[in-house]
Symmetry: none
Subunit: 280 residues, 2 copies
DNA sequence: TCTACATTGTAACGTATATTTCAGTTCGAC
DNA sequence: GTCGAACTGAAATATACGTTACAATGTAGA
């Protein structure tokens, strides 16, 4: 990682230790001993922990080349964030085995992370919204995720009336806004390389009072700012594209939960549909 | 870790999400999406990132039971420090009964079984077929799986020309047969409650010499009898419907493998597309 | 011992930040 | 529709913090 003084603050610290005054060195040692947490405290408390005054801490930071204590802390946080990034299976160093296995492992990790991070309140609230048959339902997705929206729509149409998958050109979407009001529920799918068109649509729909449910990735589409409910999935995959497995998990779990919520009604509907299909 | 909302702030957040007002919930989502780094910023910047004002952040923090924003940040730092000491290895799951967890576990089992059971020769042969740009490609699925076909088509269209997703009424499918010959590749998706229409279409296409790739379930659609390559996925799920996660895994792994197979060509195409989209 | 310089903490300062107040707005219930 | 309650952000306020100036102390070399 920082075997030689360089990239990280810790490395630079070890390298520049000689240029520091005795008390500044105590600060450096304190930071290295409790890295990087000690540096996230206030300058005064950091100093106290090292047994020196705040100005000594500031002088040490300045010698490292930081313009301010804040800049120093920002850098520490950035290092922390980079380290936390994908603790498992990160950075193209795969002893490249089978692509299917590699993808399966990534997808499994995504499903785990998704199941863990979806807030149950949001999930349950969404189920109730979908199960409420009086509310018209509209589904829509981005360039790739629109297929997931179609998948969900196909299933929900079996469970309840008034399920619309909004298709076609973005310009045509807005025709739908005419009839969208407070009662309507819009389920949107939007992951990385977030769609501007979707955002505009969501904003207008929100202004008209529609309830917006957003299924997005772990970094949250900007649509989250106007969404009533947000369901985040994890999507990283060993590919040029993200994986939609987490989105699919949310969709399938939602539909299963809606069936459970509706109980006998849904099953009656399913059976009726079966009879219709068979033609008797 | 936080199998049940409690110990960590993240868990408490997910549990108390219901008590929060809409904008407070945005704050919570932002924190969960970028946990815990988002909370280490100043309240104002944290709020800005979530699209709300600083007071809303403070109110949310107060509802969590913290006396001040500083106390909240101290707690986050403490969690970070604790996590750093014990790298990973956590296995806590939610008390079962949670539909998302149940579905995730089933889907994970399906992915494992799928990765294990897909014959590598079939997978590799399919990759080569798709990567061959001279061969026109047609994709088609059943009532629910057609969305998976659309998903795959959307990705493949980026990688190569001549990718057709066959849509619309089954009667209209057969128009396509006019121009289908030995060069054409047809990728079909068909799982339980196998589609008669799809079978008929596959048989006619096979008679005209088209190469048929079938993505199906572990029990194999009857189309397997006329298919050149068969890729079986495991689909059982705790729901009235099967899960398509295994199909999605195959699709995503295939597209990733095609990109790898095509090498620089595919990446050039991707970059060219990016430029076109940006308009420069 | 004296002087020049480096080192360090105290205290004062100004700014950035958390916190509170309050008025405008939205939303749901009747 | 009308009313009341809940929600939210702008602005005002208080506080904590980083930062700076300066005096006290220590240190090295004549």
């Amino acid at each position: 990682m920082d075997s030689e003084g360089g990239a990280s603050i810790a490395g630079q610290l070890r390298r520049d230790l000689g240029r520091l005054t005795p008390n500044e060195r105590r600060v450096a040692h304190r930071l290295l001993a409790d890295y990087p947490m000690a540096g996230l405290d206030t300058a005064a408390r950091f100093g106290e922990a090292a047994g020196v005054s705040a100005p000594t801490v500031l002088r040490m930071i300045a010698k490292l080349g930081f313009a301010s204590y804040g800049a120093f802390q920002d850098r520490l946080k950035a290092e922390l964030a980079a380290q936390r990034e994908t603790p498992l299976t990160k950075g193209g160093t795969r002893p490249d085995g089978d692509p299917l296995d590699a993808f399966a492992l990534a997808a499994i990790a995504n499903l785990r992370a998704t199941a863990e991070n979806v807030p149950r309140e949001e999930f349950d609230a969404t189920v109730r919204l979908i199960a409420d048959r009086r509310r018209p339902l509209h589904l829509l997705g981005g360039r790739f995720t629109d297929a997931i929206a179609a998948y969900m729509a196909a299933h929900l149409r079996v469970l309840r009336p008034q399920v619309q998958h909004i298709e076609g050109q973005p310009a045509a979407w807005f025709d739908r806004l005419l009839d969208i009001g407070k009662q309507d529920v819009i389920i949107l799918f939007d992951i990385r390389r977030y769609s501007d068109d979707l955002l505009v649509f969501a904003e207008r729909a929100a202004r008209q009072g529609a309830r917006i449910v957003l299924v997005t990735d772990q970094w949250l589409s900007p649509i989250s700012k106007v969404a009533r409910h947000v369901l985040p999935a994890h999507v990283p995959a060993p590919s040029v594209w993200d994986s939609s497995a987490g989105l699919l998990l949310i969709v399938e779990a939602l539909t299963a939960a809606v069936v459970a919520e509706q109980g006998g009604t849904a099953r009656d509907r399913l059976e009726a549909l079966e009879r219709l299909r068979r033609g008797d």
